[in-house]
Symmetry: C2
């Protein structure tokens, strides 16, 4: 029997949720309609829960506001940030799908140099379904792209690659600069579309942005915690960075811990969308603070290698949380709070993702549309 | 006083040699004339030394054939391969310049998507004169390109980068596949021009190709030995790979050995030229053999970390030669010969590059034109 056409145009339709954190009406979805409409959307409403968020007609979505977060997680809701896009990771918790795509509500569809609209989600899905090659650099970039292969000298034993855990999208227009760089270069725009997908090698940290990001929730979900940011916290705009460093740090040890080698793997990166966001003064101040802290913990993170007794990603992450408290709290007491929140996050993950929970009724947000 | 125009169109004119290994007349230079003519060329004639190699008029070049190699190096000439493009590294030895650009004689000028001819040499020079960023991945790629910077989350302390040792060029048309892949995909062509320069991170090996390559001879020259290949050797087509793995292996330890941090650094890679070469049956057989050996030594190379008592690149390289003999000769006795040749190479390097030698009359090949 021929496949229904929806399978052709919407791969992984029943295995992927789109998570969107927002404080406003989701008019931006109109532009994405041809690409997103077949998928299920999880909206995480940040800020005032009494505000009504409007979603364009025809999208299949559920919405969680702060009251829902508190209802679902009880005291464990303390690990979910408030007034910061870090709250998006609540959507990762309540999803029951294998894959997540998350996008900010000020992102629009980009075009390639021929003027054709880019289906960023389709590219993410392709990345997640093809292997990464983190152990050796291929000078023609992604060897799994049509018309490309491994070059002479690439070890045959490494050509199978490893499962891709994260697909990190880039974008055109406003570059993702930190606050000081943005102040110094307010008019700089990214107009160069780089038509390449490449693996960030093993052991190399990178600044992961949560604005246009997809991942395999079964492989790396428990490490995709966006930390404590925003309301009541000393830093902001580091939620995605933190998650990226933790996730990459855990993938970096996948060789050493062979029991994890088929569980957590590497990261691919590609171009795709267009960002039109702006930055507030508060974001600027928090960003500066984040940078100062970041400068201190970068040298520490790569040495946080969970021991071989960890047999699940959750156990690795809990071990990482201990190291964060032990090594980073002397830098700033904030890291004590963050380490505790990492533990709470894993408790929340297990609460909502245990086999028993999955057999029970699903967690519900407000069904929209 | 205004700079003469030659400085604008030919940067590093007096500090860079172009090294070309060849067995034929150098008609290919006609196409490169606008870009190469201001520079000095070192031709290394491979194979029959009685054959007369013709160079187009107007190029400033000197030519060395096998008789010249024997005359200049005496018994140490055993380290220079015969009937293999690995002989190009003799040109690196006799050069007195700070920078080397080396190119194969079957490479032609490529065009960017707008149809404009690409000055690959100018791009190499720009790469060599701007820092690399091997310690952290920048998701907008080269942060030193005009209109690009480091993204949010990139540690400020790492934004200075480190000196670039190697600029690794790519090319369009025939991809650099190993022999089996080329047999399986004889018609595959690389038509995608990727407009990006990026640093291959610290600790990541890559397949370095000698066909379109530039490097800082003062920083990394002694490690750019292309090994024993071709006539009388069991393998071929691995000369450039070997040099790349050794060079990258030594750069990978530049952090650990702080005395080398300003001496040997990382690698940049970019697109640029067009290759029209073909592969013979002999190359195929040697390539296969090389691949089998390569598969064995890849896991060993990254652990070859010279100790802190090495204070020069030459000393590091000699220590590497010992490890090659010790760790790799059980894989194949060829590595005993190769380890010895690495020692001879360093002796030859010091012979021709000692301060005393530099004060003496330069080594001469046959002056052409």
């Amino acid at each position: 029997m021929a496949q229904p056409s929806s399978h052709v145009t919407a791969p992984l339709k029943d295995e992927l949720d789109i998570v969107i954190p927002t404080i406003r009406n989701l008019d931006f979805l109109e532009q994405w309609r041809p690409f997103f409409q077949p998928y299920h959307l999880i909206i995480v409403q940040d800020g005032d829960p009494s505000k009504n968020i409007l979603v364009p007609d025809g999208f299949d979505c559920e919405l969680y506001n702060r009251n829902d977060v508190n209802r679902v997680l009880g005291p464990k809701s303390s690990c979910i940030s408030f007034k910061d896009s870090a709250c998006r990771c609540f959507g990762f918790l309540v999803s029951k799908k294998k894959y997540i795509f998350t996008i900010d509500d000020d992102c629009f569809v980009g075009k390639n140099p021929s003027g054709k609209e880019i289906n960023a989600l389709a590219q993410h899905i392709q990345n997640l379904l093809t292997p990464s090659t983190p152990f050796f650099f291929n000078t023609l970039y992604d060897p799994f792209r049509e018309g490309v292969d491994f070059v002479r000298g690439y070890p045959f034993s490494l050509r199978g690659g490893v499962p891709t855990a994260i697909s990190h999208g880039l974008w055109l227009n406003i570059p993702d600069y930190d606050a000081p760089t943005q102040l110094v270069k307010p008019l700089e725009r990214n107009t160069r579309y780089v038509d390449a997908v490449l693996t960030i090698p093993k052991g190399t940290l990178f600044p992961m942005c949560g604005m246009n990001l997809a991942f395999d929730r079964e492989l790396i979900g428990p490490a995709m915690y966006f930390g404590l940011m925003g309301d009541g916290q000393p830093i902001g705009r580091y939620d995605d960075m933190w998650a990226g460093w933790c996730a990459k740090n855990l993938t970096a040890i996948s060789c050493a811990n062979s029991h994890l080698i088929d569980k957590i793997e590497e990261t691919e990166t590609h171009d795709g969308i267009q960002w039109q966001g702006e930055q507030s003064i508060r974001e600027f101040e928090e960003g500066i603070q984040g940078h100062i802290l970041a400068g201190r913990h970068h040298p520490i993170l790569p040495i946080c290698c969970p021991s071989k007794r960890c047999t699940t990603l959750q156990q690795c992450y809990l071990e990482l949380s201990k190291l964060v408290k032990e090594k980073l709290s002397p830098v700033d007491p904030y890291f004590n709070k963050l380490g505790d929140a990492m533990v709470t996050w894993i408790e929340a993950w297990d609460l909502l993702n245990s086999p028993a929970q999955e057999a029970a009724a699903p967690v519900d947000g407000v069904k929209k549309n």
